[in-house]
């Protein structure tokens, strides 16, 4: 990357100037390596290559194909270590470390290191550290932490006294890995070693190892969106190998994950702070918008916008427990406006704003209709000690967990990235199904005679569950047909209303409620020749079957 010409940067928009100056990123391209080339090209590196061409030809070939090789960066330039470093080992006469941490990469890639180290990615382990035992240790076993959680969130790499890396914590390329040198994260989480190809990291697949599956199905969401459709169809027009990769300029075929969350677009510079442009936190029981708090020590912190922003100069606690002073606070609106500027490379302003409104509305709907009520009901059950504080020892806790962590997250992510299928069928539909058919019945069972005190007020205060109060409202969606009982007034206004038809309706309804749907359907279709006026089921059924006949 050190040999790429830096494209001159022109003017900035007001918003960008503030955000970008604050985070210190300034280039539309990957930052130019500022270090003098005399700092790399370790003479002993040739010996590594010579032997590793034989002992591990695959990885050596990847390096041969890399931009690192072209620039003269060899094995030792990255792997060399000082003997005092915790994970330093002697290897064929050289002191090296197996793990090349972001700090090591940052010797050359300073800007990327700074951005990454202050990103939500770098905190991926710290964020779930306290929660891990509940699922990974209690429900399953600690083997799952190494093979599951930690592979995405990162492990705390343990160097044993004999110099080996504890297999409970290594191999690991989790994005929030706590490295022996104290740095956080792993560049190779996204940048496959040892080729470190730009094109590879720009592919959506760079994110898929973690951003897929039930709780953060971003792979599936992207693939099912128009963006993913276009990417799949026009991948050869993505210019993925280009040095400069500015959306709207160097490529227009489709956006990838990188495009919107990290990439340069128009005048927006690229960033390795992947959460920078996210206004919402979508992976909580209840979503909230977030401030991005820039701290004096160069790191960053995300705080809920439901609270007052911290004052400049005040001290806040970071995810890892340390304390830092606030330098600046970026509002969710500003973060959103940066994201929207990416959209504007391909979409009109009204379209972009409209999309964001649709997205925000889904999040608000989830929050107010399901997230907040479910949270309040759970809190009520815990407060009254109807549930033990221990997570996952009661079925309701699994139900609640899946409601927000899987189904709810899926709905919100689906809406955020324009996959209707994930917003609805894989998302909010399942949220609704869970809420009404699993969560509420189980919560009522747990609450027992306290359900009236704990559950009902929550539901009625949300005002969005009133529809269940009128069970007589029929709808043809279930495929068989109980319709609303025609009210007396309706019947008399129909052309030849009579007491006979009223009786027919009553008998038809009795029939369907008592019998299985197929029998009911057979009955109604058998009456097709002699339609009973005023009986809606027959009309509907007739039109549906005739429609089917024409298909």
């Amino acid at each position: 990357m050190m040999c790429f010409p830096l494209r001159p940067i022109c003017r900035w928009t007001e918003v960008l100037l503030l955000v970008c100056c604050a985070i210190g990123s300034s280039a539309a391209l990957a930052a130019k390596v500022a270090l003098d080339p005399s700092n790399w090209g370790h003479p002993e590196g040739e010996n590594c290559v010579s032997c590793h061409e034989k002992s591990s030809p695959g990885l050596t070939q990847q390096w041969h194909d890399s931009a690192h090789k072209v620039a003269g960066v060899n094995c030792l330039d990255c792997h060399q270590a000082e003997p005092a470093e915790p994970d330093a080992i002697e290897h064929e006469g050289q002191i090296i470390a197996t793990i090349v941490s972001p700090k090591d990469c940052g010797r050359c890639h300073e800007q990327e290191y700074e951005e990454q180290e202050g990103s939500v990615h770098a905190e991926a382990y710290a964020i779930i550290k306290d929660r891990i035992p509940a699922l990974a240790h209690n429900v399953t076993g600690s083997a799952m932490q190494a093979a599951g959680c930690d592979q995405c969130h990162g492990s705390v790499v343990k160097v044993r006294g004999d110099g080996t890396l504890d297999p409970a914590t290594w191999p690991n390329s989790g994005i929030g890995r706590i490295n022996p040198d104290g740095s956080k994260g792993s560049c190779s989480s996204c940048h496959g070693r040892h080729a470190f190809s730009k094109a590879q990291a720009r592919e959506p697949s760079a994110c898929v190892r973690c951003h897929s599956g039930p709780d953060s199905p971003d792979k599936e969401v992207f693939e099912a969106s128009k963006h993913g459709m276009l990417f799949a169809a026009q991948r050869d027009q993505m210019n993925l190998h280009s040095d400069a990769w500015v959306a709207g300029k160097d490529y227009t075929a489709a956006p990838t994950c990188t495009t919107c969350h990290m990439g340069a677009a128009g005048k927006i510079p690229t960033t390795h702070d992947v959460g920078l442009r996210n206004a919402w936190n979508l992976n909580q029981p209840v979503s909230y918008q977030q401030y991005l708090v820039l701290l004096e020590d160069g790191s960053k912190l995300e705080l809920p916008a439901t609270e007052k922003p911290p004052k400049r100069g005040s001290e806040v606690e970071k995810a890892d427990g340390s304390v830092a002073k606030v330098k600046a606070v970026i509002s969710p609106d500003r973060r959103r406006s940066v994201m929207s500027l990416v959209c504007l490379e391909c979409h009109a302003k009204g379209f972009t704003e409209g999309f964001m409104t649709q997205f925000d509305n889904v999040v608000e709907l989830y929050n107010t209709k399901f997230g907040e009520p479910a949270e309040a009901i759970m809190a009520g059950l815990y407060e009254r000690e109807l549930l033990t504080p221990l997570p996952f020892d009661e079925p309701l806790e699994f139900i609640y967990w899946e409601l927000w962590h899987d189904e709810g997250a899926r709905a919100r992510h689906g809406a955020s990235m324009a996959s209707p299928n994930h917003a609805w069928w894989e998302g909010m539909y399942l949220v609704g199904r869970n809420f009404y058919s699993r969560f509420l019945p189980e919560a009522r069972a747990v609450a027992g005679d306290q359900a009236e005190a704990i559950i009902d007020p929550v539901l009625s205060s949300s005002g969005q569950h009133d529809w269940t109060d009128d069970p007589t409202q029929a709808n043809p969606i279930l495929g068989w047909m109980p319709t609303p009982s025609p009210r007396a007034g309706d019947l008399t206004t129909q052309s030849d209303a009579s007491t006979e038809t009223g009786a027919a309706v009553a008998s038809a309804q009795e029939g369907v409620t008592d019998r299985d749907p197929e029998a009911a359907a057979a009955e109604t279709s058998s009456e097709q020749g002699e339609p009973v006026s005023g009986v809606v089921p027959n009309d509907t059924e007739t039109s549906r079957t005739s429609e089917e006949a024409t298909q």
Partner: protein, 209 residues
Amino acid sequence: MIKLEAPQFITRHVLFALVAGGVGGVIFMFFLLEFDHYSSSNAFCTTCHSMTYADDSYQASPHYNSPSGVRASCGDCHVSEGIIMATYDHAIGTKDLIKQMFGPDYDDPVVNLLHLPEAAFAARDWFRKRDSATCKRCHALDAIQGTRANTAAIHQEETAGKSCIDCHYNLVHRQVPSEQTFKREAWNAMIEEEFGLEPGTAAELLATE
């Protein structure tokens, strides 16, 4: 016909001494051979309890259990070839015996492990000074094939100026870092964790010796 006559100084006593000395010398040589042989055996080495820890890891290694049935004994690797050097090594080796009797309680697994790094560093130096001579009793560089694709090529092309021990340490006995990167605190912490000891116990044990 030439008549051989013993010189004047060959008296009966001298003759007796020569014969006795000669026979004694031969016996002594046989004794040394047998002694070196015996004292190179696994059975002899593990008569000290402290050595059984080294034996445990050895028995789990391919040098004990090789697919071909070749088995290297303690002495095959740790005692030089030839009666003079073997005797010398054994003579020097008596310092281990003295330490065993008058030094720390190496029979204690914790104490033993605490001192393992120094033993490992000394053994590696020993191999290095002898250009890994005992390895070469069995292994010939130009005959190494290996099971992986390029093991032979690596041993032919990448070993200039290197001795076996330079690459192949931590081969038989418990893993110990190189002396350059060894960190005593980390080593102690590992032992404390392994034996469920309070942090700091290892350092105290070492200090009170």
